[in-house]
């Protein structure tokens, strides 16, 4: 793979990481957030302002960046998650606009609209990103099949009934919101490391909405569906970069096309492409042999 393809893979992995976080939030708990891009913003700016101005090495800075996101999520979650879900969704929209505008307010340090650069170069970023992606997906998969996953699905279906089993719905929601936001922060940091340039306009609500579209395309009840669609739908437009259909560039129309696809899915297969199916281990094991041959270097990982 050349740098271009590696770059696109990293970008798609970032998309997988964020959508996995959104899966925990929306797929498991039924909370609709349109502000996850704001947490990417917090993670990215938090981390790289620390490396640049405080001279903190990347890894501790990244941890602090994630911590910043966690604190914001904790405050916002505590205040809004007790209310009905509509308020939460609207608050996240407002949050999504407030955080990028903070970047402009602190232009002196963030370089505001001019964009923030001087992001350190990390060698082998692709392996780090793949590792984190695997880890995040692995963790959320485990979460789904744990008592937390069951409680989340329970509160998603019926909060009142969930409460009657002693589940503290509010606390659980706050926990999952913080988790999803921390994951978004990590994705933001990787995104910044890949681009080595960030500005406030990159983290707008369209990015948050894109995550939701990817999630529902694959199936909001299927982690596999979410992961695959996040990867493929992010990658596809770049492959179709120069493909022309009926004389128009596919890339230009990709968002419209995705919207139409999602609408069709919503109307005719609301559970998403994958429905509730997950990749079954038995099913995988049959394929693994072939895959190992196809990509030898991943054998160790799989």
């Amino acid at each position: 793979m050349n740098n271009y393809q590696i770059g696109l893979t990293i970008l798609s992995c970032v998309s997988v990481i964020t959508v996995t976080g959104v899966y925990a939030l929306t797929g498991l708990c039924g909370m609709f957030s349109l502000g996850q891009a704001a947490f990417m913003c917090i993670g990215a700016y938090g981390t790289f302002m620390l490396t640049r101005y405080a001279g903190i090495p990347l890894i501790p800075a990244a941890l602090l960046g994630v911590l910043a996101g966690v604190i914001v999520a904790w405050v916002v979650g505590r205040l809004t998650l007790k209310l009905r879900r509509d308020y939460f969704a609207l608050m996240t929209v407002a949050l999504g606009q407030a955080i990028p505008s903070l970047v402009v307010v602190f232009s002196e340090y963030t370089n505001g609209a001019l964009g923030f650069t001087k992001i350190p170069k990390v060698n082998g970023l692709i392996w780090i990103t793949l590792g984190i992606t695997v880890l995040v997906v692995f963790c959320i998969r485990n979460l789904k099949y744990s008592r937390y996953g069951r409680m989340c699905l329970a509160l998603k279906t019926d909060e009142l009934a969930a409460k009657s089993f002693g589940i503290n719905v509010y606390k659980l929601k706050v926990k999952i919101y913080i988790l999803a936001s921390a994951i978004a922060c990590i994705a933001g940091i990787l995104f910044a490391l890949r681009n080595r340039y960030i500005d406030n306009t990159q983290f707008n609500w369209a990015l948050s909405a894109e995550m939701q579209i990817f999630l529902f395309f694959g199936g909001s009840n299927s982690l596999t569906g979410a992961v695959v669609s996040a990867f493929v739908l992010k990658m596809l437009p770049n492959i179709l970069r120069n493909v022309q259909l009926f004389g128009v560039s596919m890339q230009e129309y990709r968002i419209i096309l995705y919207c139409i696809l999602v609408l069709i899915i919503l109307n005719f297969r609301p559970a998403g492409i994958m429905g509730e199916h997950e990749l079954n281990f038995r099913w995988v094991s049959r394929l693994t042999a072939k895959i190992k041959n196809a990509s030898g270097r991943n054998g160790g990982k799989a």
Partner: protein, 296 residues
Amino acid sequence: MTGKLFIQLLVNGISIGAVYALIAVGFALVFSVLKFSNFSFGGTISACAFIGFFFQKAFNQPPYWITVLVSSVAGVLIALTVDLLGFNRIRKKNSPKIYYFLSSVVFAIMIEQILTVFYGTQMYAFPSIFATTTLQIGGITFSKLDMTILAIAISLLVILIIIIDKTKLGLAIRAVAINSNTSRLMGINSSVIIVLTFAIAGFLGGITGVMLGQKYSVYASLGPSMMLKGFIASVIGGLGSLGGAIVAAILLGVVEIFATFVFGAEIVPIVLFGIMLIFLLVRPQGIAGRIAEEKA
């Protein structure tokens, strides 16, 4: 701040608040019957602004009211199309609320993208309706356009409130808003009422579109950029309450103008976010004091 400047800012705030009120009401109306936040409303507004503009251009400046009418009819049609393609099946299947959310977000993005891809490269401005744009009364400058918008907005809102409070249609809408299943049992065709509510919201969206387009020129993100303010207003006003939304929208306009004047524009989104947080904390039922309880 001199008294004259204070009044000037107040006037500006009220006129921008009136615009927010139109958006907030269109939003609150749909919320009250379907209990979800219709993000696509911003897109409807943008699309109507474009339709109004192209109509104006194609027919070589017809009388203004015809443009407004065409655009509001277009608004109704767009709203009905969105309902048909986006919400109808979801409603029939009784799917979770989250699908309504997603559907409306998808429409919001799609409309904005279509407008950007096809018309995004150029800027469009309505021809002016007034030869001179301002009016001086007692040392205070009034924008004629703002005053017109304010007048239209207030009269529309008054008519709407009369419809909701005094007519049979309004009664039916209120009944469906309280409980659509029960209303159905009582002989109200709630799906017709829901569609009608969408149509009314679309109508408001159409008029809002033309007026915003006239005031701020026509571009794809015109509606969506104003939409958030409408949202905030309807949250502060109490989700689903029309009166609350109007009061909150006008207050929001005034607060925004004064906050911009005093603190500068960068802080405003954060101030608004803070106001919303505080409101939700202190008075989650909103100004109107009516909270749409989730059913036990």
